[in-house]
Symmetry: C2
Subunit: 243 residues, 2 copies
DNA sequence: CGCTGCCTTGATCTTCTTCAAAACGTGTGG
DNA sequence: CCACACGTTTTGAAGAAGATCAAGGCAGCG
């Protein structure tokens, strides 16, 4: 019964071929930041962005680099992370299409506080932070949307803080899985497959625990029929029992 | 040498008598949200706010209540908290003048995710979330400022996540103290007194640890001359050695 | 002056980390 | 296509860190 899947079933999202041409326009219009804009404004904004493709594993921004750009994920998955005092990985967040990273508007510290790495093949739209700030100031609709995006992100972050405070490795892993399933879930064989390649180490780094502990917990959940998991992937079988 | 102060030296901030009249105008102008506004706009904004005073211990918003208002701390200290699965306290943040709480703009979930309680005598300016949203949309400068405020808060929240992930009770307490000292520090007897009344339980709840563990750690820090502490208060003597 | 609640300290126990080794998947090159 | 080698995952056992239980001390207050 415990047929551990031998192959991580998960489509390595491949943006057809980067995100060039006017596909960008559509992406921008769908991005939370610019959803309210009229056609003309979209064009104005579009002109200010450039798109960059990254192969899996490539660093997009690096902790400590001067914080000069704002990026928006157009396609693929980006991991936001850094390293704790003792060199241990901390995975702060996993980003999908529409999510932003980097410096919002030239506010705050002048260097990035975290690194961003492409997990998939990623296409990211990027803009100079000061240029974005000018856009904010000249097109009010963008600023209003930015407020919405940020307050949502802040709420999620508070939720994460709350959960990390409720110490207990198992419930933290459960929370991480629930969150990932909501954000990146794809229906697959009567389960919700988390459609992102995540190692045990990375899941552990999101829950603030150790790799081995994470592995043990996932094994137990698999035994109990709550999840299905293999090398680099997890699927949620019984969301209700994730507490 | 270990003369543990018998009286928590800390001035219980008392707003002269609430925050009425046009003192409000000044407060609004100093608040991060409205710093850029012209006189006329300040008046427009001012008219939409009302001020409410709270005695120490009073609940300002309660987790689960319909999220209809945005509040800004004008004077005093507000604690943002809720309770984990097992009924344990989680102190998400401590707010001072200029900080906001509640619903930013009618976005997000329709109930508050956390409770807010007055620690001091508090004066809070409050506005209906939908009214605030209208202000955002009609006065672009507010939206731009809101973006700045939110991105700062988000950055701080990410920093907290990072710190909670870097597991080790002592360094987490150190981080909490450093953060509080920066935000609420007042120079006192060659030390930095954290000018907020915080019990051991509350400090523990910010670091995600247990009350007793927190007490032990603070005792050790006191032994090492890093901090001075008493009932309900902590002062940092040697910030450098807080790692 | 004694009550109440916060803080401290000790002892024990649970949980998670750490160290170690084996099993398994995956991609590689023959 | 198969076998090998590498990195990930799993599992075990020992150890440490922190939680929990319990009791005593101290401050503030009626």
């Amino acid at each position: 019964m415990d047929t551990r899947r031998s192959t991580p079933v998960r489509h390595n999202t491949i943006p057809p071929e980067a995100c060039s041409t006017d596909l960008r326009r559509r992406l921008l219009r769908e991005s939370p930041f610019f959803a309210d804009l009229t056609g003309g404004d979209i064009d104005r904004v579009n002109a200010r962005f450039n798109d960059v493709g990254y192969e899996p594993g490539r660093a997009i921004i690096r902790e400590g680099d001067p914080a000069t750009r704002l990026g928006i994920v157009a396609a693929g998955v980006v991991k936001l992370f850094n390293y704790g005092d003792s060199g241990n990985l901390v995975l702060i967040d996993v980003l999908g299409p529409g999510d932003h990273f980097g410096s919002i508007a030239g506010f705050g510290p002048d260097t990035y506080q975290e690194s961003a790495q492409a997990s998939d093949l990623v296409c990211a739209l990027q803009i100079d932070a000061s240029v974005f700030r000018t856009l904010l100031e000249t097109i009010p609709a963008i600023a209003v949307r930015a407020v919405e995006v940020l307050s949502n992100r802040l709420r999620l972050s508070h939720e994460l803080v709350r959960q990390l405070g409720a110490h207990n490795a198992e419930s933290r892993v459960a929370y991480v899985l629930k969150r990932l399933a909501t954000r990146f879930g794809r229906s697959w064989e009567h389960m919700t497959l988390i459609d992102v390649s995540l190692s045990r180490e990375e899941i552990a780094a999101m829950a603030g625990i150790q790799t081995e502990t994470c592995s043990r917990i996932l094994s137990a959940m698999r035994r109990d029929g709550i999840v299905e998991a293999g090398r680099g992937w997890v699927a949620v079988r019984d969301p209700a029992r994730l507490e």
